[in-house]
Symmetry: C2
Subunit: 314 residues, 2 copies
């Protein structure tokens, strides 16, 4: 059994590689829900959906979010009504949020709904939210952010989508994390896994919320020797999203060494890209074993090759 | 100024006739919200939407509900997920519910949202929900109803759509009505109108909830001489829906005389169809003036002709 700690697109690609080289049923993905939010009354879980759509082969490879073969009648009409259309919900994607919201209203847990959707989508990986309790990533914008929201705290999607993560961040917090419990089975899966993979996701706002759920960081630390992370930073930049910029803003070098320093307490091995081979020594000096390989998963074959390395079969 | 008390399709046709013969801005429609419900987390107001779509020329004339030019990607996908797809929400129609739910969550009242949607749709009639407070029509099914829900109380849409109103009803109540207040302006509009029109809607479950809001029935009674109703029953049958059957089940004759008896306390004039001309004397014996004309609004011209009669211009 293997556990993967997952954010959005990078994690989805890592998992799509892993299912090529391991039995999907042997993989548990613990997914960030700090990005979850309610809009139009609908409970939206962006990272769970990205992972589910990707593993179901339904993801939109052009946009990097949402569904393939999507239509936009509801959003176009919502724009006509003057509604909140900054978070684009395709007609097919909407069904996922309708289903989730209705099931939650009926008393189902987020774990249960996530499993139901995964099963209906034919996803073999066991997908588990980090917690069934609400944890909400919130970002304090710097006073000099140059937007109307400068100096204020905003919800993650406000920062990420509405402001296009193009504003400096002063601090990040995970609202509700103190009271949240790991979803059923998460701690046991971490204890039992032969290997724990930290997918190449944003260390601050994708892995951060997962680690903020009491018990998960401790469970990870206890398995430190078997924890392998893939750096989301390649040659000083994030492949996607604001990880590099955000790390720098929060005082962490936006490099593989910065990632190593952040993960060192609970992670024994960091996989870095060949582009960063020159930093391998510095990574090891930070107290983390370093593996150098091709980490850019721009084809399924490269994702599978990386998965072999990460799972110790490469 | 004219006020129309409105349910769904029959009322929408009546209003579509009225705007042909009177300035839309002179018409206030007070619309039943007893059918409102929450599904998938969305606040759905079926009668408000039917009236709005019809006056905007966006109504689906084939189905009698929903939007014209509609697509069904979200519902098809929801069926794939095993979700609740018995209440069909088209992709374009969904936008209305997304907008309403978001605005309500932001603190807007149902009156405000209804006015916003009407304005965006170019509807000139002033549309007002009967109340901004929740009133929910609930139906007690007879023990011999022959369905799993027999002997139980169900929500209106469960009865109307899910069970296709094909089950006998023992009683009806309007949950929340006691505590509800008429929406802002409703009582004043009733007091000031030169004429008040009770549209040809179901007397029990369309007009019933409106009358159950404290203050509305009293305001109507005070203007009895100027209240004109159009019978929703023609030749002993409802043109659409279960009004005839429901009236009989609840002890009211499913005839124009039964309608006259129900409306007599607050309505001085009942307009009945030529098919019921032979009942005019019995209607008047029930204490209501009787006007006989063509009431079946199967063309815009016939709706306009009926509107002229109802508004006293015919």
């Amino acid at each position: 059994m293997v556990v993967a700690l997952a954010g959005g697109v990078g994690a989805a690609r890592m998992l799509a590689g892993m299912v090529q080289v391991a039995d999907p049923a042997s993989i548990t993905a613990v997914v960030n829900t700090g990005d979850d939010f309610v809009l139009h009354g609908l409970h939206i879980s962006p990272d769970i959906d990205t992972v589910t759509y990707t593993l179901a082969g339904l993801h939109n490879t052009e946009t990097g979010w949402g569904r393939t073969g999507e239509t936009w009648a509801a959003m176009d009409e919502l724009a006509t009504l003057g509604g909140e259309d900054w978070f684009r919900l395709g007609d097919r994607d909407l069904a996922t949020h309708l289903f989730r919201t209705q099931r939650l209203a009926e008393g189902a847990t987020l774990s249960e709904v996530t499993a139901e959707v995964a099963a209906r989508r034919g996803v073999g990986v066991r997908l588990v939210p980090m917690s069934d309790d609400p944890v909400r990533t919130r970002l304090q914008l710097r006073p000099d952010a140059g937007v109307a929201e400068a100096g204020r705290e905003v919800a993650f999607q406000h920062y990420f989508v509405r402001l296009r993560h193009d504003v400096p961040v002063a601090s990040v917090r995970f609202e509700g994390a103190e009271a949240a419990r790991p979803a059923p089975g998460v701690v046991a899966a971490l204890a039992d896994a032969r290997r724990i993979v930290i997918c190449p996701s944003n260390p601050v706002v994708s892995l951060g919320p997962v680690l903020a759920v009491p018990g998960i960081r401790q469970a990870l630390s206890a398995r430190r020797e078997d924890v392998v992370a893939v750096s989301p930073i390649v040659a000083g930049a994030a492949l996607k999203g604001p990880a590099d910029r955000m790390m720098a803003e929060l005082g962490h070098p936006p490099t593989v060494v910065g990632v190593a320093q952040l993960y060192q307490p609970f992670c024994a091995t960091l996989v870095i890209d060949e582009a960063d081979a020159g930093s391998a020594g510095a990574v090891e000096a930070a107290g983390v074993r370093c593996v150098v390989t091709a980490t850019v998963m721009d084809t399924p074959a490269r994702a599978a090759a990386l998965a072999r390395v990460v799972l110790g079969d490469g």
